[in-house]
């Protein structure tokens, strides 16, 4: 049945050249690889040394094998190897290719098309006329040259329905009296009229049946039951167990289509259906648009969802809930009963409910809303809500919509309403008139026992006639409607309970609510409610299960939509009538898939996946690759492979690249563990080295004198490095350092806001005062322009920096200038009597700016020797000591935050406690 892997040659005699290979073996073996000439003075010491191994002057055997393989590949390639050469003996009678071409063929359509293409090619070689016939889209039977069909083949696509009996009978008729051979690409599903057609074809000539071996898979429509989405899949071949995955696809909150859930389904052995239930939150469920069997491209494997999966949220608000205990008189009782099975009910006050954005708000006998509520409800209506109002004694008694139309009522109302057929009135209770054709209720049967004894009356208005969608037999409006924005307001002129009419007691009530799109359950699609409706296709499926726009297709009568099998006039897809959506899928809930049974005298083949394939290119490419390998191998054998240092260097560089990244990550990790002082890289090597040495020196001093034990200092590249790990950044200014990028500024500002400190050092206090007088000062101004820096002040004598660890009044570095600037004190900070300093600001100053070249004063080499002279003699050493103390103070300030400034209050607090 299936064609095995076979192999043939276009020009087999070229293979004779393979006989040359042994000769080549001998020749190649005798020729050793060329030696390398090397100049080497030590050659005198080599004289007289003999090679131990005399065999090595021959080419190594593996190199020989490599070359032989290359040559063999060339020879075989030139002989024109062909995989699976077709050897079907064919007659010369015309050939009819029949394809079912329904949705069941779509899953393996590519294989079918390939096979048809191979058949056409073969027929073209043999000069047989061909007719290509699709049962799903029958055309007149015409035998044409195969090449003609080949050019049309690309347009031959499966249809999203099954071939019907008529098409088969039509073909059987056409076949009568003709002679041709037939190949029938069947989809493997049992179908009426199939055997009759087979008999007709057999009478015309030889028939071969081709079927895919794997059977057909399809997905039944999802059913919402017990709060879960029940999914079931069917298959035509049930012998073996099989696992499939069904994907739930819908829109994500961003509006893009994506897979919302995946559900595994398992077919047990000998079972032709698989079921599983999917639990989805209501929000996700509402966004579902379809289910698909993963990896199966056919219309049968797609199941569109409609309103049946959605439960509408209906808010019920009654104007009168004072009669506790009188259940049956509650204005909401009948609504609750009608809606409970198919909608999510919300009850509460309007204010609480509106934010939940329900689909429907039912106001039962509510006359007046506050103006705020009214505006909110109008907003909600604009967004597409449905406001359903019922009349009642309150509405009848109120003045709402008397002289002018209330925005929340569809019509003006007459005062008081009317009652008919009561003890004090003439006439009989009125029954309902048949629904007009433009009414949403059109087609619903009107039961004669539903009568209305009281109602509110609409004022005659020019717009009234358009707004009536149901009326009583005397023509007075029973239900009126108007649209507001995208939403609508519907007023039922009777109560929602049975006080004024029998309507809530009848089945019509539920059906009307359904037509108003209040209900949304599977009962929507009941034949009796579909009568008289026309459904407009919204989106339809093609044979592969892809979604197409269906707006241009004609509408479908409601009865057909439910019952008729899919066909050219009823494509599977999503249909709309008014606000209601119904999905029509290939499978209905109770349909099954049955595989076709063919008579025993017919040969049934599998799809011939592998068709003849020219392998010349592959062999020649293999020969080229082998020869390239031979080049490398020859070089290796003669010891010249590693001469190419550039290549080696490149490879090394490539290998080292990730290593440096890893090292960097490790370094950052270490910085996160310890307190690490950091300085900003300026790009000036000398300044950077000094800054680093300065940080090292300060770290040493901190380590010895305080409980701060910093790790080795870090050099920070503002563009690349994460700053969050460093409590303080030392930023030496050079006139030509690059200005940080926008991202770097963003990170710096984050750093400053989250408690970091930057110590700017213009390093020019020996020649310039603070300001824009020097190039470094000007550069600092430019650099700091992008930073979020608060107003600055010269460091006041009572600043907390002067006493976080040491008591300091000077802040020298290598130079001794008093110009050090910090964040200004808030205007209301006052010097308190007896306090060493003001409560300047609660936090830490985010910047300290100066020019004393502190890093140079702090700088130490690895052995702890100072790198730069400071001042002269003993006073210079004193100045260096003060510089270290300033450094210690500033790090303490940064690490302790406002703790130090709070501590000064301790004596005062203790004093107070003591008293």
């Amino acid at each position: 049945m299936t064609a095995g892997l076979s192999f043939g040659f276009a020009t087999p005699w070229v293979l004779l050249a393979l006989a040359l290979l042994p000769v080549l073996w001998l020749i190649l073996r005798a020729i050793p690889p060329a030696p390398v000439r090397r100049l080497f003075p030590g050659v005198v010491l080599l004289l007289g040394l003999k090679d131990d191994d005399t065999v090595t002057d021959r080419t190594p055997w593996w190199l020989l094998v490599l070359r032989m393989l290359a040559l063999a590949a060339v020879i075989v390639g030139l002989a024109g190897p062909v995989l699976n050469p077709s050897d079907d003996s064919a007659g010369d009678s015309p050939l009819l290719v029949v394809m079912d071409a329904g949705w069941a063929s779509a899953a393996d359509w590519e294989a079918r098309r390939t096979m048809v293409s191979a058949l056409l090619e073969e027929a073209a070689r043999d000069g047989r006329p061909v007719a290509l016939h699709r049962l799903s889209d029958p055309q007149e039977l015409r035998f044409l040259p195969a090449d003609t069909w080949k050019s049309r083949l690309a347009g031959v696509l499966p249809q999203p329905w099954e071939p019907d009996t008529d098409a088969m009978a039509q073909l059987a008729d056409a076949a009568a009296g003709q002679r041709f051979d037939t190949i029938w690409l069947s989809d493997g599903l049992a179908r009426d009229g199939r055997n009759a057609l087979l008999a007709a074809l057999q009478s015309a000539g030889q028939v071969r049946i081709v079927e895919a071996g794997s059977g057909v898979l399809a997905l039944a429509p999802p059913v919402f039951r017990d709060g879960r989405v029940q999914l079931s899949a069917k298959r035509s071949q049930s012998a073996l167990p099989r696992d499939i995955v069904v994907q739930a696809i819908g829109l994500d909150p961003g509006g893009a289509e994506r897979i919302l859930a995946a559900l595994p389904l398992r077919f047990d052995a000998l079972s032709d259906s698989a079921e599983n239930a999917l639990v989805l939150p209501a929000e996700l469920r509402a966004r579902l648009s379809r289910f698909e069997i993963q990896g199966n491209r056919s219309a049968g494997a797609v199941s569109l969802t409609d309103d049946s999966l959605r439960r509408r949220e209906v808010a019920l608000i009654a104007g009168r809930e004072d009669r506790e205990g009188l259940q049956l008189l509650s204005p909401l009782h009948y609504l609750r009963q009608a809606l409970q099975p198919s909608a999510d009910l919300l009850e509460g006050t309007l204010k609480d409910i509106l934010p939940a954005n329900p689909d429907v708000i039912v106001l039962a006998d509510v006359a007046v809303l506050s103006s705020g509520e009214e505006a909110a409800v109008l907003d909600w209506l604009d967004g597409g809500g449905l406001l359903l109002r019922f009349a009642g004694p309150r509405l009848a008694a109120s003045d709402v919509s008397r002289s002018a139309e209330d925005p929340l009522l569809p019509v003006r109302l007459r005062a008081g309403g009317r009652s008919v057929g009561g003890a004090m009135s003439w006439g009989q209770p009125k029954s309902l008139a048949p629904f007009p054709a433009d009414s949403p209720f059109f087609g619903l049967p009107v039961p004669q026992d539903v009568t209305v004894s009281a109602q509110v009356m609409a004022q005659p208005d020019p717009t009234l006639a358009d707004r009536v969608i149901a009326a009583l037999s005397d023509g007075t409006p029973l239900v009126t409607r108007k649209t507001v924005g995208q939403g609508q307001i519907v007023l039922v002129h009777v109560t929602a309970n049975a006080e004024w009419s029998g309507l809530p007691l009848s089945g019509l009530f539920v059906q009307m609510l359904d037509r108003l799109a209040l209900l949304s359950d599977s009962s929507t699609a009941q034949a009796d409610r579909m009568a008289g409706t026309i459904w407009q296709p919204l989106r339809v499926l093609d044979g592969f299960g892809r979604i197409e726009d269906g707006q241009s297709l004609p509408g479908v009568p409601g009865e057909d939509l439910l019952a008729a099998p899919p066909g050219p006039d009823l494509r599977p897809g999503l249909y709309r009538d008014g606000d209601r959506l119904i999905a029509r899928n290939i499978l209905t809930e109770d349909s099954t898939l049955t595989s076709a049974r063919w008579p025993l005298d017919v040969t049934v083949e599998g799809l011939r996946g592998a068709v003849s394939k020219d392998l010349t290119g592959y062999f020649l490419a293999a020969a080229l690759i082998l020869l390239a390998l031979d080049v490398l191998a020859s070089l290796a054998v003669s010891g010249r492979l590693w001469g190419a240092r550039a290549v080696a260097g490149l490879a090394l560089a490539v290998m080292l690249l990730p290593a440096t990244d890893g090292a960097r990550a490790q370094e950052t990790e270490a910085h996160a563990r310890d307190v690490v002082l950091a300085h900003v890289l300026t790009g000036d090597r000398q300044v950077d080295d000094t800054a680093r040495a300065g940080m090292r020196g300060l770290s040493e001093v901190l380590y010895f004198r305080t409980s701060v034990e910093p790790g080795p200092p870090a050099s920070v590249d503002l563009e690349r490095d994460e700053l969050a790990f460093y409590p303080i950044l030392y930023w030496p200014i050079t006139p030509d350092q690059p200005t940080p990028s926008r991202e770097a500024y963003a990170r710096l500002n984050d750093y400053l806001r989250s408690g970091g400190m930057i110590l700017f050092d213009t390093r020019d206090a020996d020649v310039a005062r603070f300001g824009a007088a020097s190039p470094n000062g000007r550069k600092l101004q430019r650099l700091a322009a992008g930073l979020d820096i608060p107003p600055l002040d010269p460091l006041p004598a009572d600043h907390v920096l002067t006493r976080t660890f040491y008591l300091l009044q000077d802040f020298p570095g290598r130079y001794d200038s008093r110009d050090v600037w910090v964040e200004a004190a808030p205007p209301d900070a006052e010097l308190i009597e007896g306090m060493p300093f003001r409560n300047l600001n609660d936090g830490v100053t985010p910047v300290v700016i100066g020019g004393n070249d502190w890093a140079a004063a702090w700088a130490m080499d690895d052995r702890g020797n100072s790198l730069f002279p400071v001042g002269r003699g003993r006073s210079g050493e004193r100045q260096r000591e003060l510089a270290y103390r300033f450094g210690v103070n500033i790090v303490m300030h940064v690490l302790t935050g406002n703790y130090k400034s709070d501590q000064v209050h301790v004596p005062a607090l203790l004093d107070r406690l003591g008293q």
Binding site: L39, P41, G42, L46, L47, L49, D51, T56, V637
Partner: protein, 290 residues
């Protein structure tokens, strides 16, 4: 007949190559001269050097009476050693020396010349007379000799491997042979014994390339000497390594033995190592009086 322009351009190119070698050698020598003041020791000469207490063995004539009378102890007056030694250099200039295994390594000849010239500078600064073996450049003192030596060192020799020149050796002079000692060993042996016979002591510095020590070759190869006079072909060079290294060790060992027998010093220097260490060693070795 050489034309003026040829002479001029030749001279220019020679002159162009002169300063680098000389400058390098001066630079190298400068590192040694610091803190090590050459000949300053007691010996025969005119200048006063020091007084020292009389030791047993000193003759009475040697006592400096004026000095002894001042103090009561007996002193001998020493004069600074002013007898200059003659040091004869032989630097192998054969093509075998102009080999470098890697691009960033100097050739053996470059290193040998540099070391020899640096030693010559040191010696001449120390007051010795320095010249070449053979008759071309007899030992002389003075800065001018350095220039002449430089000039001589820039001449390449023909032939593949160098043989030492042991003629016209001054008796009891000192000598420095710098070579890779890859050439005919009998010639070395003859030269060294001949020199030793005349009472010449000295130093053999063997300069080798790292590749000659490690033999990092593989596969099929034809090894040629620099002058292409000696050729050896092998099918598998890595097989030869052990035997080559054995032979090299044997060659070094023979040289060392020969040096020990003749009372010479033997040193080994690789072009991959810095020159300074070798220069220090050379200087010390030449200082030592055997």
């Amino acid at each position: 007949m050489i034309t003026y322009t040829q002479l001029r351009s030749g001279a220019e190119s020679e002159a162009a190559s002169l300063p680098p070698l000389l400058a390098q050698a001066e630079h190298l020598a400068g590192t040694v001269l610091l803190g090590d003041h050459g000949r300053r020791r007691a010996g025969l000469g005119d200048d006063f050097w020091q007084y020292r207490p009389v030791q047993p063995g000193d003759t009475l004539r040697m006592i400096d009476w004026r000095r002894s009378a001042k103090t009561g102890a007996q002193f001998v007056r020493q004069r600074e050693w002013q007898v200059a030694q003659s040091v004869m250099l032989w630097v192998d200039q054969s093509p075998a020396m102009s080999f470098a295994s890697a691009r960033d390594l100097p050739t053996k000849a470059d290193r040998a010349r540099l070391l020899a010239l640096a030693v010559a500078i040191l010696l001449i600064r120390g007051g010795e007379r320095v010249g070449l073996t053979g008759t071309q450049l007899p030992p002389r003192r003075g800065e001018g000799q350095i220039l002449r030596l430089t000039e001589m060192f820039l001449q390449d020799e023909a032939g593949d491997y160098g043989t030492p020149e042991a003629r016209a050796m001054l008796p009891h002079a000192r000598a420095l042979f710098v070579s890779d000692f890859m050439g005919d060993f009998d010639a070395f042996e003859a030269a060294l014994t001949k020199a030793a016979d005349r009472g010449v002591r000295g130093v053999c510095l063997q300069v080798l390339d790292p590749a000659e020590e490690s033999f990092p070759f593989k596969g099929r190869a034809i090894f040629e000497s620099m002058g292409q006079s000696v050729i050896h072909e092998t099918k598998k060079a890595d097989d030869l390594r052990d035997r080559y290294l054995d032979r090299l060790a044997e060659r070094k060992d023979r040289l060392r033995t020969l040096c020990r027998v003749t009372g010479w010093h033997h040193g080994l220097h690789h072009t991959g190592d810095p020159a300074q260490g070798a220069l220090l060693w050379l200087h010390r070795a030449l200082e030592q009086r055997t």
